[in-house]
């Protein structure tokens, strides 16, 4: 048997070797993934200050790399909260360092994407990235960095401090990467359009390598309530998390430990639970054996009397904003939106928002166009596998007078502290019964609204047609009868037409 050598690899090294799972599969996906990750970081950075985001993205051509790929320079600028200067090198040069380990709804989950983009750029072009940031105070900090892949450490090549005369606040990331823009373009533009749809309060600007400008302008400055950070809910914990909490905690007994570290657990619930699991309230959590921790985890999931998580950690878009976004990007004749009440799956709260757009500039495709979003991120791949698609296919649309050949777009937005993605690639939502049920109910509600709209319009159409028949034939009857009777002028039919109109208005 051959000798197997074990070596420890750093997180950066790990992702370098497995960049597929983060979406950097091929040159066109890489361009798309890099832009997407940085744009989402920028949006989060502005939203956490409740400032309407301004994000500027420029991709410029640098040179040929191979027969099919080119080197591009990517620059992403935002007006977000900025980064403390001491954190800048780690934030951009160290994988798994970041602000996203607490529980609140955010676009990125692992704080990985932006660094993966920079890492990818470094691998393909061997050039440093430039990060410029200010929190709006007196100074602007500029770092030139590379990542030491094996040690997972930032290497600072240059550092400048500038006077912030204009009180600029935000972050600019600039680096070079190899990719295939022209194959990425359709998907990328679709990404901007859909991002604009679900972030109607953001200004998005994109300048492509040919110098073409794509501008998505905000229609509102209203923004959804930012999410609050919460503690984990007992139903959602695993052994790993329990162990980490036990390590960190300063609580001296289990009763206090439960009350302090878990979401919606008070004194009474904690006591009941400990009784249920046969654990003494006064036991020191740090004294729990490994088996006891595993049993505790199982009991946390089994116990029925925990209150459901509340949704304050979520930040759904809200009906108003969703509607504004759909109207802005799709320009439909009619739009209906609905926000479901918060629900939970496996201890994770989530909210489903649905929308349906009809007519106007919505194209007729022979089937509905589905727009999927998770935590305000458009999901562009693997549509057929998504739970929303399954719900739509299973629904009896005929009941709502809706036919597949109508110009209809459907929007499904799910927000959660833990979006139930099926894969690491974060492209589609898994078919979980709780989630499926919420999506189905949300779609039924907007379907009812469009049914109402369609039948009303049908009624108006019918009424118009009815009036048309009267105004076509009454004059003829008048004219023919006058000629038959040998009268010179036809009788006045205005009175009759008027009564038809009144009758029609009453009905409409």
């Amino acid at each position: 048997m051959a000798q197997t050598t074990f070596e420890e690899i750093s997180a950066a090294d790990f992702f370098y070797r497995n960049r597929d799972i983060a979406g950097f599969t091929n040159p066109s996906r890489a361009i798309f993934a890099a832009i997407r990750e940085l744009v989402e970081n920028s949006l989060d950075a502005a939203e956490s200050l409740k400032i309407p985001p301004d994000v500027y993205v420029r991709l410029s051509y640098e040179g040929e790399a191979s027969a099919e790929t080119q080197i591009y320079k990517l620059r992403v600028e935002d007006n977000g909260m900025g980064i403390q200067p001491r954190h800048i090198p780690s934030a951009f040069g160290q994988i798994l360092f970041g602000s996203k380990y607490k529980l609140k709804q955010q676009r990125g989950t692992f704080g990985l994407g932006g660094k993966m983009a920079i890492l990818y750029g470094q691998i393909t072009t061997h050039q440093a990235a430039t990060i410029t940031s200010s929190t709006g105070l007196a100074k602007i900090y500029m770092y030139k960095l590379m990542i030491d892949i094996q040690r997972n450490r930032p290497i600072i090549l240059d550092r400048k401090v500038l006077i912030n005369r204009e009180q600029w606040r935000g972050t600019v990331v600039e680096f070079s990467l190899e990719g295939d823009y022209f194959r990425a373009m359709p998907r990328l533009l679709e990404y901007f359009k859909q991002t604009a749809m679900v972030n109607p309060y953001a200004n998005l600007t994109f300048v492509d390598p040919k110098g073409r400008l794509y501008k998505f302008t905000r229609v509102t400055k209203e923004m959804p309530e930012p999410p609050k950070e919460t503690k984990p809910h007992p139903y959602g914990v695993d052994v790993e998390l329990l162990q980490r909490l036990i390590q960190l905690t300063s609580c001296k007994n289990l009763l206090e430990f439960l009350r302090v570290h878990f979401h919606r657990v008070g004194d009474i619930t904690a006591r009941k639970f400990l009784e249920f699991s046969n654990l003494s309230p006064s036991k020191n959590p740090k004294r729990l054996s490994h088996e006891e921790i595993v049993r505790l985890m199982h009991n946390l999931k089994k116990f029925k009397d925990f209150l459901p998580p509340d949704a304050s950690c979520l930040s759904p878009l809200g009906e108003e904003l969703l509607k504004a976004g759909i109207v802005k990007e799709l320009r439909p004749e009619f739009v209906a939106v609905h926000q479901r009440k918060p629900a939970t799956y496996a201890g994770h709260p989530f909210v489903v928002e649905t929308g349906i757009a009809y007519g106007g500039e919505v194209p007729r495709r022979g089937s509905f166009i589905l727009y999927r979003f998770a935590n305000r991120i458009p999901l562009l791949y693997d549509e057929a596998s998504d739970v929303s698609m399954r719900v739509i296919t299973a629904m009896n649309w005929r009941r709502y007078k809706v036919m597949p050949d109508m110009p209809i777009s459907i929007v499904v937005h799910i927000c959660s502290t833990k979006v139930p993605y099926k894969t690491v690639g974060k492209e589609f939502i898994a078919d979980r019964p709780e989630v499926r049920k919420e999506i189905a109910n949300g779609l039924r509600e907007v379907a009812r609204q469009i049914q109402h709209f369609l039948s009303r319009r049908e009624h108006v159409d019918r009424e118009r047609k009815r009036l048309g028949v009267f105004s076509k034939y009454l004059p003829k009857i008048a004219q023919f009868s006058a000629q038959l009777a040998g009268k010179e002028k036809p009788p006045d039919i205005e009175k009759l037409l008027k009564s038809v109109r009144q009758f029609g208005e009453e009905e409409a």
């Binding site: 038959l484 009777a485 009759l496």
Partner: protein
């Protein structure tokens, strides 16, 4: 026969038709003028409302009436079409022009009135007949099919360009077409004392060649299958105005039998009209019993023929007279049928020399 007596019946009827059309227009005009949605009521032509009247010996419409109102969106278009049809008829009549059902369908387009198809325009004409109680021939609308008449009858035309001109109906050896000009003509004089109506053209020509009109002192009418309404009305006038008995000769099968019946008792389709039937006309042959008695060459009755016999058996028009019952029964028994031409097995003139006088005598 006196010349004056019948003169004017056609002209009188025309006047009545015109004034009824005008009144229809006036009634609608006044309803609209009074701020009302105009409406028309007419007898219902649904099958439940068609009854057989043994007195009149024809089908008539019952008391059920339907209302066509311009208030009702579904009635509106047919209502307009009906008023248009009345106007169109009025113009035809007053300009003394004639038209056909096909013509009506196309003429509507000149008035921006559209009919979905020929059937729709035909229905509207039938509505107009029902509303006014006149047949479409009275409105100068004629069907395409034509039949003929031959014999000692002098008529006087009333159609434009021929007014006052007379014609002897023996003047053309093929017979004279029963078209608009003839149906609108007045009867002037005749020496005939009977009318013989014949189903088939071949036999009609044979009768003329064999001088049947002279030998039997008869007017010969070719129905050319089921007699058109104009022909039925013409036969009735011969019977009514000239007091001539009418004898009908058809093929010896259920269909021929029914051709005679429609001349006598009219059709359900024309239940809304009067004066198209000739109740006293006689079916003189070919009977089922003739097939037996004269040993005629026959064909078997097929399934459709037998089905038709069962229908006729239930038909109220056949209930009156034991003759019809006997003939239907005989047909059913022998399950055979014979055409008029079947007499040719006894020689070409046998039918005229032997059969015809015998039957005229038998059905007198």
């Amino acid at each position: 026969m006196e010349k004056k007596k019948h003169k004017g019946s056609v002209v009188e009827r025309k006047k009545e038709v015109l004034s009824s059309l005008e009144n229809l227009g006036l009634s609608i005009y006044e309803q609209i003028d009074g701020g009302q949605f105009p409406s028309i009521t007419m007898p219902s032509r649904s099958t439940e409302n068609i009854n057989y009247d043994p007195q009149l010996r024809q089908f008539i419409l019952g008391d059920r009436r339907v209302k066509r109102s311009a208030r009702n969106i579904r009635h509106l278009k047919p209502f307009a079409q009906l008023v248009w049809a009345a106007l169109f008829s009025n113009e035809l009549s007053s300009q003394r022009k004639t038209s056909t059902l096909r013509d009506v369908y196309y003429s509507a387009q000149a008035y921006e009135m559209t009919f979905k198809d020929q059937q729709e325009s035909n229905n509207i004409i039938t509505d107009l007949e029902t509303v006014l109680g006149f047949s479409r021939e009275d409105f100068n609308i004629f069907p395409e099919e034509r039949s003929a008449v031959f014999g000692d009858l002098t008529i006087e035309y009333t159609v434009p360009g021929y007014e006052g001109k007379t014609m002897d109906l023996t003047s053309h050896p093929d017979g004279v077409m029963i078209g608009p000009a003839l149906t609108s003509a007045e009867f002037v004089k005749t020496k005939a004392d009977k009318v013989i109506a014949i189903e088939k053209g071949g036999l009609f020509t044979r009768f003329i060649e064999e001088n049947v009109h002279r030998k039997f002192n008869a007017l010969l009418v070719l129905t050319a299958g089921q007699a058109p309404r104009a022909t039925r009305h013409f036969i009735r006038r011969l019977n009514e105005e000239l007091k001539l008995p009418v004898y009908v000769f058809t093929d010896g099968d259920p269909w021929g039998m029914h051709i005679a019946m429609v001349i006598i008792s009219g059709s359900a389709n024309a239940a809304h009209l009067r004066e198209l039937n000739t109740p006293d006309a006689k079916w003189s042959g070919v009977w089922a019993t003739d097939i037996v008695n004269y040993k005629l060459p026959t064909d078997p009755l097929d399934e459709i023929d037998m089905k038709r016999l069962l229908e006729l058996q239930k038909d109220p028009r056949y209930k009156e007279d034991p003759l019809w019952h006997r003939e239907i029964k005989t047909f059913m028994k022998i399950k055979r049928k014979a055409e008029q031409e079947a007499f040719s097995r006894y020689g070409l003139t046998y039918i005229v020399d032997e059969y015809l006088p015998a039957k005229l005598e038998e059905t007198r």
